[in-house]
């Protein structure tokens, strides 16, 4: 298809120029730089309409004059021009190394020559995507495109990933990029399931400019994914296997000196007999069943862990650190990916079929996912009609724990070897009836009894048809659908404690204390078991009809696309549940006590739009291209029969100009500067960024109602403004593309600014109004930044080929205006750490409580002059923005003979994070920062002299209880302690591959090529020394309130493995 269209364009363009000369027959062969035949290249005489297509063996025959120039082009190769001076030619096509002449897929599948594009776009090829062999396409894009931030907000066998282009522009609405697969507007669901190996390339349309034609959905930019299609030639069968290992790359910093204990020392400070030694008090604090780790220091003595079991046995172990016990509590993950593809084609048809199975066993023992997918893509040309069909079926199954496994592991004392506790069903000390910890259950028990199992069954695809009605007129229609059905069951296994565990388990001498009591504390409540069964259907239908007109008016050359778009998304979710089950391990809601729980949710949204895209230039002045776009949209999100048309429909438009400096002024062209393009664009985009059904005030069932027949309703808390209308984002961009030194240095720079006005914002209003939120068009947000992509072919003409590319982007935003009277609001988080929108600042801004600092010396932190404890400043204070300002990607590829080494680094920085994990680990005392339990003066502190009222640097007031209360009751509550700069450097992916020389491979007579590779993903991560907690990318929410993470994200992982690929 692509080739047909591009050659069609060339044909049409060139038919305008006619040449007259002595014509004779010329034959030739087309090969690539390695001498491999290039099948079906298009060969035409420059300036003539007629073209021929080379055959399967690369041979062609064409009539041309001796002074004529032949233009030879083929998909994936740089076009070349050859003088037809001889009658037999050997033509070499180079694989595409730069994209200057490339035809790119822009919004709505409109193909444009790179020269014509007046805005910034990037393209990531299949090779770049598969460097790290990630089974997730989005993760494979991280660090590869300037301005693109891929956030893995949660790791697991089903990672939660967010894709943002050029930062946030909506305060409370969606900021994620639109996903388009083969022209079909789809959703994150399809993106999560696509097989990255099926992807030919991803075009990234960064600004709203590029995506004007997608309507509201494209306001955040778009990832336009083109899947592979069969290459012309005989059937090519390829098989690939990837074996992937996954391990925890780092865990929070732990202390390894103190074991179980809490505040048991019976006397209060100052009371008669109070022991002044923290060491002695810590000894009193030791308990064999504590979840906290504020006991005395490890001494290697034999101590009991927990209590005596019903059979009289007990676990007596050395009171000493078990090295790396938490790390070893996780598994080495193993995944296997098998795939095979079949492709082929001839002059009029192409065919591509792939099957894939990807099985992951995660780092959390027992967590797995299993994805199987088939994709078929075929096209056929019948004279004036070409059709194509593209469909993918994917089934994915996930089985994950619903427990907070990381939290359970990192908060367990290090003297108990958790790795021996894996099998709680057979090991009595691992069983809840015998597990040592009175408060936290065995992590393996928690993980085993809490399961989330779900299956996605996904069908997506499209049919399209192109009809070339007239040389200057084409009609095109594409119908795309995506249907995803998720069925799932969340279960909790029933567990009843033994009477011994509840009432009798005791602590024997010599480890007993007078305040001990029989029975395990956590045995107070039996686990009732539960089951929740649900199914969710998501159905998206998208039809695009286009008329493509290419007509010159006098000297003006025009390409016009008129389109009509229909979009519908429908979802339905139904769940039923029971919070207790009767017979263990039978997970059906029929097996329950009490009422059935559950609910349903349905949504339908529809849009239609008309659009036009005009690309125009003047003959012989092709160095200047003007692109105008306009779209009219109507959306159901703002529709009511009673509303005016201008409240639910809207027109928007944009323009882009590209100027090829080196074509306009050829004198500028030199060996140094080969190509220079300047571009600018301006757009105004409408956006229906309102929560579905946001126009209605809702009346919901009151909590827990109905009670039998007794109905209770509550008035909703979000009040919609009556005049709500779509918001508008204006965007402007200026950029340039430069090629230097024989195209070996390519630089692409852009600057952009986006201004979003009248955002549909869920404003927090005082609850005293009777509502908590108001949905209203308010405010203005500015978003700006610049990007630079530098690609250098450092070594090219030697045996070693070395490419380096560097991407830098800066992005910032500012809340310029909010609702009158409102200067800030919080997205959420914890009461002591929130992410916020603050007028006049970038967003989101992290705020936490913290220390008081001395006005005399701002490095000193206030402590109490009586207790020595740090004083908490309860006011939430700004700690900085949570979105990275600077992002750098560094990629390189080195090729030597049959070896290829590729890697990509990514840096992100300029932002801050809060980790609630730090607070949790201070509570339990597992964090390294709690290591100092001896008598101390709180570091860098001052106090206010009670008499003079002056700040006095603290050199005298010691902390009262450094062995416990300092940490748990004071340090823990000061959230500033768990704020850290969120920068990181990650080796996103690295790949060393070896292509077995074809001479050897061919001898096998089975394979036509073979390749083996070793690769890694996120092999190492560098983070700030103050960040002792976790991966700064993590966030408790995939929403806008980023920057706050907690324990419920699975720890960061590194992955590595090997890959073999055979082509038959």
């Amino acid at each position: 298809m692509k080739k047909i269209l591009s050659s069609l364009f060339l044909a049409v363009l060139c038919s305008l120029i006619t040449a007259n000369a002595q014509v004779r027959s010329v034959t030739g062969t087309v090969k690539d730089e390695k001498g491999v035949v290039v099948a079906y290249a298009t060969v035409k005489v420059k300036g003539q309409a007629s073209a021929v297509v080379a055959d399967e063996k690369g041979n062609f025959k064409i009539n041309a004059a001796a002074n004529a120039t032949l233009q030879v082009s083929a998909t994936g190769f740089a076009s070349t021009e050859v003088r037809a001076s001889a009658t037999s030619l050997s033509i070499t096509l180079n694989h595409q190394v730069d994209e200057l002449e490339n035809v790119v897929v822009t919004a709505q599948g409109i193909r444009k020559k790179s020269k014509e594009i007046g805005y910034s776009y990037s393209k990531v090829s299949s090779d770049e995507i598969t460097v790290g062999h990630s089974p997730q396409l989005t993760q494979a894009l991280a660090g590869k495109v300037s301005g693109l931030a891929v956030y893995t907000v949660n790791n697991s066998v089903d990672p939660s990933v967010k894709v943002v282009l050029r930062g946030y522009r909506s305060l409370t609405g969606n900021n994620e990029a639109l996903v388009v697969i083969d022209g079909m507007q789809t959703t994150a669901t399809a993106l999560a399931l696509i097989n990255p190996n099926d992807v030919e390339n991803v075009s990234i349309l960064k600004g709203g400019q590029a995506a004007t034609l997608y309507g509201s959905a494209g306001v955040n930019g778009a990832l336009v994914i083109t899947t592979k299609q069969g290459a012309k030639g005989k059937l090519k069968v390829s098989y690939t296997n990837t074996t992937n290992f996954e391990q925890v790359s780092f865990l929070p910093a732990f202390q390894n000196q103190y074991g179980s204990g809490s505040q048991y020392y019976p006397l209060v400070y100052g009371q008669a007999g109070y022991d002044p030694s923290a060491l002695n008090r810590a000894k009193e604090n030791w308990r064999p069943y504590e979840n906290q780790q504020y006991g005395d220091a490890y001494d290697g003595s034999q101590r009991i862990a927990g209590r005596v079991l019903a059979d009289g046995t007990s676990l007596v172990i050395p009171y000493a650190d078990v090295p790396n016990v938490r790390l070893n509590s996780f598994d080495m993950g193993l995944s296997q990916n098998h795939q095979a593809s079949f492709q082929g084609g001839d002059e009029t048809s192409s065919f591509y079929l792939s099957v894939e199975n990807n099985k992951i066993n995660g780092i959390v023992p027992g967590d797995l996912s299993d994805r199987t997918g088939v994709r078929v893509k075929s096209s056929k040309e019948y004279g004036k009609i070409s059709t194509s069909f593209n469909a993918a079926f994917t089934q994915a199954y996930y089985d994950r724990t619903g427990s907070d496994f990381q939290n359970d592991i990192i908060n367990t004392a290090s003297w108990v070897d958790l790795t021996t506790m894996r099998n709680w069903r057979t090991n009595p000390f691992a069983n809840p009836n015998g597990y040592y910890n009175d408060y936290y259950n065995n992590p393996y028990f928690n993980k085993d009894i809490n399961r989330l199992k779900y299956k996605d069954a996904n069908i997506s695809g499209n049919f399209d048809i192109t009809y070339r009605a007239l040389p200057w007129l084409q009609f095109y229609n594409r119908l795309g659908i995506m249907n995803n059905s998720r069925t799932g069951k969340n279960t909790v296994e029933k567990f009843q404690y033994s009477d011994w565990a509840k009432n009798s388990a005791y602590i024997p001498d010599p480890w007993t204390h007078e305040d001990d009591y029989p029975g395990i504390y956590r045995a107070i409540g039996d686990v009732l078991g539960s089951v929740a069964d649900y199914s969710t259907t998501e159905n998206v239908v998208n039809n695009e009809f286009q008329a493509r007109i290419q007509k010159d008016i006098a000297m003006v050359q025009n390409k016009l696309t008129l389109g009509y778009s229909l979009y519908q998304r429908y979802t339905k979710s139904i769940s039923i549940s029971s919070s207790s089950i009767v017979v263990p391990e039978v997970y059906n809601v029929a097996n329950r006590q009490g009422n059935l729980g559950g609910g349903e949710a349905n949504t339908t949204e529809r849009k239609f739009g008309y659009y036009a895209d005009l690309n125009t230039n003047v003959k012989n002045m092709e160095w200047l291209n003007l692109n105008l776009t306009a779209r009219y949209d109507a959306t159901s999100r703002f529709f009511k029969q009673t509303r005016n048309a201008n409240q639910y429909s809207y027109l928007y438009y944009g323009g882009a100009l590209s100027f090829i400096l080196t074509d306009a002024i050829p004198a500028l062209k030199s060996n140094t500067l080969n190509y220079a393009k300047l571009r600018t664009s301006y757009n105004k985009n409408g956006n229906d960024n309102i929560p579905l059904y946001g126009l209605d005030l809702s009346y919901t069932n009151g909590a827990n109602f109905p009670y039998g027949n007794n109905v209770g309703l509550s008035v909703g808390n979000t009040l919609p403004d009556a005049d709500l209308k779509p918001e508008f984002v204006t965007a402007m961009e200026v950029g340039g593309e430069f090629s230097m030194f024989k195209n070996r240095v390519n630089l692409d720079v852009s600057w952009y600014k986006q201004q979003s006005d009248g955002q549909v914002l869920t404003v927090k209003v005082p609850n005293t109004t009777g509502f908590s939120n108001l949905l209203i068009n308010v405010g203005q947000v500015d978003n700006w930044g610049y990007e630079a992509d530098l690609k250098v072919q450092v070594l090219r003409d030697t045996k070693v080929k070395w490419d380096v590319n560097l991407k830098y982007s800066f992005n910032d935003n500012k809340v310029v205006d909010l609702f009158p009277g409102i200067t800030a609001f919080a997205y959420g988080g914890y009461s002591y750490a929130t992410s916020n929108v603050i007028l006049g600042q970038r967003f989101p801004i992290l705020k936490t409580n913290g220390y008081y600092y001395s006005a005399d010396n701002p490095t000193l932190r206030r402590v109490s002059p009586t207790t020595g404890y740090p004083v908490q400043n309860t006011a939430l204070t700004e700690r900085g923005g949570t979105l990275p300002r600077d992002m750098v990607g560094l990629g390189s590829t080195v090729t030597y003979k049959d070896f290829r080494l590729a890697f990509n680094f990514e840096y992100r920085g300029g932002n801050f994070m809060y980790s609630d994990l730090g607070r949790q680990m201070t509570f339990t005392g597992s964090g390294a920062w709690t290591s100092n339990r001896t008598d101390q003066i709180f570091a860098n502190s001052y106090y206010i002299d009670p008499v003079s009222g002056k700040d006095v640097p603290n050199t005298t007031v010691k902390v009262r209880e450094p062995e416990y209360a300092l940490w748990v009751n004071n340090y823990r509550l000061i959230s500033e302690n768990f704020v850290a700069p969120a920068w990181f450097i990650k080796l996103r992916d690295v790949n060393l591959s070896y292509t077995i020389p074809s001479a050897i491979v061919k001898k096998s007579k089975i394979f036509s090529s073979a390749n083996v590779a070793l690769y890694g993903r996120n092999l190492f991560t560098i983070i700030d020394s103050k960040n002792q907690f976790t991966d700064p990318e993590f966030s408790y929410t995939a929403g806008n309130g980023s920057g706050i993470s907690n324990t419920s994200q699975t720890p960061p992982v590194r992955q590595f493995g090997f890959n073999v690929n055979f082509v038959f």
């Binding site: 019976p266 009809y467 305040d515 009732l528 009490g594 109602f705 109905v711 509550s714 008035v715 005293t768």
Partner: protein
């Protein structure tokens, strides 16, 4: 060209369909109702009002010295070191949300021919505002609950709000007298099942509470006595003989059992909840009851260490003798594990009794308010009984409410022990204050704390986990209000919850 025409035709058809507004007419919320009958809104609002007393009552139980926490949990510094912030104890947002539902009922009842709902809604509105004043002092009242009509409600003076509530209750009584409850919707009234006369008595009792709360404010006597005499003149009287409680129809199913039972006691299947180990009886309360030989009530208020016998609901595992009850010194952070201290007793928790109503007001409280009125104002209030008779009736009502046999009341009342025997107690107001504090405990912890702040009696020891002598006197205005209505919050001046007093808390 045939195909071409077909295409154009298809194009026109598509465009034609798309143009129709019907294509877009899918924007009616399918997941919740577009409108609500006031009766159903009232049912939920009543249930929310009752359920949202559980948490402030707990705080009240702690800060009035009835309860403390066991040491199976690390010490809560917000509760026992008073290190709470404007992010803690936010009873503001939920209460205003609840108040709006009452406002909805008041505003829409006429349209739905449900005028009889206005009275109950107004009474409950007054109750909630009284709660807000007691927690926060100055609050938005006249500007509040107006939606977009006023997005930055100004704060009203707390005393003025208190006075307005009397008017609001009078209005409510007027509505209650004018509109009989439709029997069809009686089940929506989960408090009185549509009994207007009960609502009026409740309104009068609430007026009495609001008035007597101000009894120590100087210069208010004339106002208070005049208003009390108006209540008496009105003639409907006060609630008596039974508590005012709400029960939406609890059933033994998840989320549908009494939230107090579920919070501190058991699940719907009878499994003990972890929180059962959290609240513990203070050493002060246990010792005071022991010292006054008030063991009948002690056994109802607490279980002996070892807790309730699951096989024998309502009865402690250990023998229920006074010496077996162990309280924890208030705010103690170590030394008292759950198994070694007294848990919340059968007055609130008996395994299997998941369907008790949540008490909104006790009959005993009314009697103690009457006793205090008579004691303070003598013949200026037209009350027929004596302070002693109201006092003794109050103690009787409390015995009844906690489930202690009334046969044992007489002994206590004639025990010649201070704070029990009215006749022999020198400081009669202290006796009333102590018995009222005791009677408000468990049912209305928040009221117990308010009375404690007002009377400073009984003198309970301060938290062992707090350095200093201050006690919590109010809450911070919540951060949510500060963030969205900052100017009006800041206009209230500097607030220090350990120093800024509610207007009725004079010392």
């Amino acid at each position: 060209m045939k195909l071409n025409k077909l295409y154009i035709a298809a194009f026109l058809v598509l465009v034609g369909t798309g143009c129709k507004k019907d294509y877009l007419d899918v924007n009616t919320k399918p997941n919740s109702l577009p409108t609500a009958t006031p009766a159903y809104v009232l049912a939920n609002a009543l249930n929310v009002s009752a359920a949202s007393l559980v948490s402030p009552n707990e705080v009240g139980m702690f800060w009035s010295g009835h309860w403390t926490q066991s040491n199976g949990y690390i010490i809560s510094t917000t509760l026992f070191s008073y290190a709470f912030t404007n992010g803690d104890f936010n009873y503001w947002d939920g209460t205003y949300d609840n108040l709006y539902d009452y406002q909805y009922v008041i505003d829409n009842a006429t349209e739905y021919n449900q005028d009889y709902l206005k009275g109950p809604a107004k009474v409950m509105k007054a109750l909630n505002y009284q709660k807000l004043v007691d927690l926060y002092g100055n609050i938005p009242y006249t500007d509040a609950l107006k939606g977009v009509g006023n997005l930055a409600p100004k704060f009203d003076d707390q005393k003025a709000v208190y006075e307005s509530l009397i008017g609001l209750l009078d209005d409510g009584i007027k509505d209650l007298k004018a509109n009989a409850f439709a029997s069809t919707y009686a089940s929506s009234d989960i408090v009185f099942k549509g009994s207007n006369s009960s609502w009026i008595k409740f309104a009068n009792s609430l007026k009495l509470r609001i008035l007597m709360r101000q009894s120590r404010v100087s210069g208010r006597d004339a106002y208070i006595t005049a208003e009390i005499n108006k209540i008496i003149a009105e003639g409907s009287g006060f609630i008596t003989g039974a508590e005012v409680g709400a029960n939406p129809g609890y059933v033994a199913s998840a989320g549908q059992i009494n939230p107090i039972y579920n919070n501190y006691g058991y699940t719907e299947t009878g499994a003990r909840v972890g929180n059962n180990n959290w609240p513990r009886i203070t050493d002060f309360l246990v010792k005071k009851l022991q010292a006054t030989n008030d063991t009948f009530r002690l056994k109802r208020l607490a279980y002996a260490p070892g807790n309730e016998d699951i096989a024998n609901p309502g009865v402690s595992v250990k023998p229920e003798i006074a010496a077996n009850y162990i309280g924890i010194p208030f705010g103690s952070s170590a030394g008292y594990l759950p198994g070694a201290s007294s848990a919340v007793g059968p007055v609130l928790l008996v395994r299997g009794q998941y369907n008790r109503p949540i008490v909104i007001m006790t009959a005993a409280e009314v009697q103690f308010n009457l006793a205090e009125a008579k004691q303070r104002y003598g013949s200026t209030v037209n009350l027929t009984g004596t302070a002693q008779s109201y006092y003794e009736e109050g103690v009787k009502q409390h015995f009844r409410a906690v489930g202690a046999s009334s046969a044992n009341v007489a002994a206590l009342l004639t025990s010649k022990i201070d704070d029990c025997d009215f006749t022999t107690t020198a400081n009669k107001l202290n006796a009333i204050a102590y018995q009222k504090w005791l009677a408000l405990g468990y049912f209305n912890g928040l009221e117990a704390w308010s009375e404690y702040r007002k009377n400073n009696y009984p003198v309970t020891p301060n938290s062992k986990n707090y350095v200093g002598t201050a006690r919590p006197l109010r809450l911070w205005y919540p951060g949510t209000e500060l963030g969205s209505n900052g100017a009006n919050v800041n206009a209230q001046g500097t607030i220090d919850p350990l120093a800024t007093r509610i207007f009725w808390d004079v010392d």
